[in-house]
């Protein structure tokens, strides 16, 4: 019995390259027709190619509406408020469904080519395409707001438990217990060893960072409305989080921290005529938050991309034919379940790593004179 299944599987796998090669040839012809189609994601009729790149980047990028599902021809989406400040016409406020009209709304439209593809632009008096100051509540911005509210609700409800209990009571159970467990683990494993002596001062900030990133990562894995916004896979978000660390590190850095940057403990010729080491150290100040920004962004983007690509496998193989489409869909779903589990892990690890590196940077900025002597 088992042998027959193997033989069947081998036959299927052998068929794939042949058929896909044939379908590529078949797809070449109706490509122009497909380009006219707005969304290729939900098109299931065979013969129309699936634009994988477009699907993946469409989900990773920000948008002015929160697309939920397309039923037949009808799109169901949440249209979000657009807030713009144009240099010529001042402030504008309208809902994004108005942008669907032909020619845009009020002189604003979504650019389809050029530098500002997918962004709201207008034409200035010279007829050039320019971007107004765009403060729209986009999908990511709404995701930030939802995650923030959720985080506030979760943490403040847990804090409420502590408000109504004494230290002598039995420790919390259930969700509050889990929350405390994770918090204490982060404090004991990450914050205290990295910062040392005065770690208490930084725990609220670092725990806030950790839980914000962790919650946002998890919400990013939820496929439908309240989740699904690619918050931590947006570089503006990770940049802001890294700036929080950057400010904390450099504002609360000790005198010794600045001395190590401006007058490091190296032979004099490395720093006197040409301040080589100070320049390197000075760049170090900025590379640290930069690495934080890119690490979180790249990890989350990569994870989402892989899951989306695996989803696309279903539609690509369905186009080829039911014989390949069915088993490949099963394989793809198995892989997607695996990737989602992996992403759950990554969601935690990336939040952990961000907190750990922030703690280490803070710990490095809190050096004292005697610390150096003890390490020498």
């Amino acid at each position: 019995m088992k042998r027959w299944i193997y033989i069947l599987l081998l036959a299927v796998l052998w068929l794939i390259p042949q058929n896909s090669g044939a379908s590529v040839a078949a797809q070449a012809e109706p490509a122009s027709e497909a380009a006219a189609e707005e969304s290729a994601l939900t098109v299931e009729e065979p013969g129309i190619p699936v634009d994988v790149k477009e699907i993946i980047f469409g989900h990773l990028k920000d948008s002015y509406e929160w697309h939920i599902i397309t039923v037949g021809e009808k799109e169901i989406a949440i249209y979000l408020p657009v807030i713009l400040h144009s240099k010529e016409t001042g402030w504008h406020f309208f809902m994004s469904d108005k942008l669907k009209q032909k020619g845009g709304y009020d002189g604003f439209y979504i650019s389809e080519t050029g530098n500002y593809t997918g962004k709201i632009v207008e034409r200035d008096s010279m007829g050039m395409e320019v971007r107004p100051l765009d403060l729209s509540l986009t999908k990511v911005a709404l995701g930030i707001v939802i995650n923030s509210i959720l985080l506030l609700v979760i943490v403040l409800s847990c804090a409420g438990w502590y408000r109504h209990h004494e230290p002598t009571d039995t420790p919390p159970r259930g969700f509050v217990g889990l929350f405390e467990l994770v918090s204490v683990m982060i404090i004991d494993d990450v914050i205290r060893p990295a910062i040392g002596r005065d770690y208490r001062r930084f725990t609220p900030l670092l725990l806030s960072l950790f839980f914000f990133i962790f919650l946002s990562n998890l919400m990013g894995l939820v496929p439908i409305f309240p989740g699904g916004a690619n918050v931590t896979g947006n570089i503006a978000v990770t940049l802001t989080l890294a700036i929080t660390t950057f400010i904390t590190v450099n504002v609360l850095g000790t005198k010794e921290y600045w001395k190590e940057i401006l007058w490091p403990d190296v032979p004099v010729f490395l720093k006197c005529p040409v301040p080589l080491m100070p320049i390197i150290e000075f760049f170090g100040i900025f590379t640290k938050p930069f690495s934080l920004t890119v690490r979180l962004f790249a990890n989350m983007t990569a994870g989402h991309s892989v899951i989306l690509a695996l989803t696309c496998v279903i539609f690509i193989t369905a186009n080829i034919g039911p014989l390949i489409g069915t088993p490949m869909s099963v394989v793809s779903i198995v892989f997607m379940i695996f990737m989602n589990c992996l992403e759950l892990l990554v969601a935690y690890i990336q939040a952990y790593v961000f907190t750990m590196l922030s703690s280490m940077f803070i710990g490095m900025s809190r050096v004292r004179e005697n610390d150096n002597e003890s390490t020498k």
Partner: protein
């Protein structure tokens, strides 16, 4: 790659949201938790210390108890021994006293018997003397009718008295 270019609008939204959220959480969220955890840790440490002390004290009390019990047993044994001794003493004393009083009673009875016998003897003697005197009177009354005989007898008596005095 516009994915890599941070959007100004998103940064502003994020700064606003994160600023508010982090401020609230840093003020009213996490300090509650960390304070509680620190306090609980202190409490647990203190409780452990107290439990250890109590245990030590309990062990001390146990030892004290044993010591007390031992002492009590000794005391008990001592008291019983003493009581036995005293009982024996009392019995012995009572015996001697009883013997003494019995002896005394016997002595008294003897002396009384002796006295009574003496009394009886004295009574008998007196009666014998009286009887003798009476007999003597009768004899004397019969004798006194003879004058010579009287004189002779008086002389003899005087002689006898004198002889008795001389002796």
């Amino acid at each position: 790659m516009d994915l890599l270019i941070p959007e100004t609008g998103t940064i502003i939204w994020m700064l606003l949201a994160a600023g508010i959220v982090f401020f609230i959480l840093m003020k009213w969220g996490f300090p509650m938790l960390t304070d509680m955890v620190d306090k609980r840790n202190d409490y647990i440490e203190k409780s452990l210390k107290a439990a250890k002390e109590a245990n030590d004290r309990l062990a001390g009390i146990q030892a004290e108890c044993d010591e007390l019990l031992r002492e009590t047993r000794q005391e008990q044994a001592r008291i019983i021994k003493e009581a036995n001794e005293r009982r024996d003493g009392i019995i012995a004393e009572a015996e001697t006293k009883a013997r003494e009083s019995a002896g005394k009673i016997v002595e008294d009875a003897r002396s009384q018997i002796r006295e009574e016998r003496d009394e009886a003897l004295r009574g008998i003697r007196r009666q014998v003397a009286e009887i003798s005197v009476r007999i003597a009177e009768k004899v004397i009354l019969k004798e006194l009718s003879d004058r010579d005989g009287q004189t002779e007898m008086i002389d003899r008596m005087i002689d006898e008295v004198e002889a008795a005095e001389r002796k």
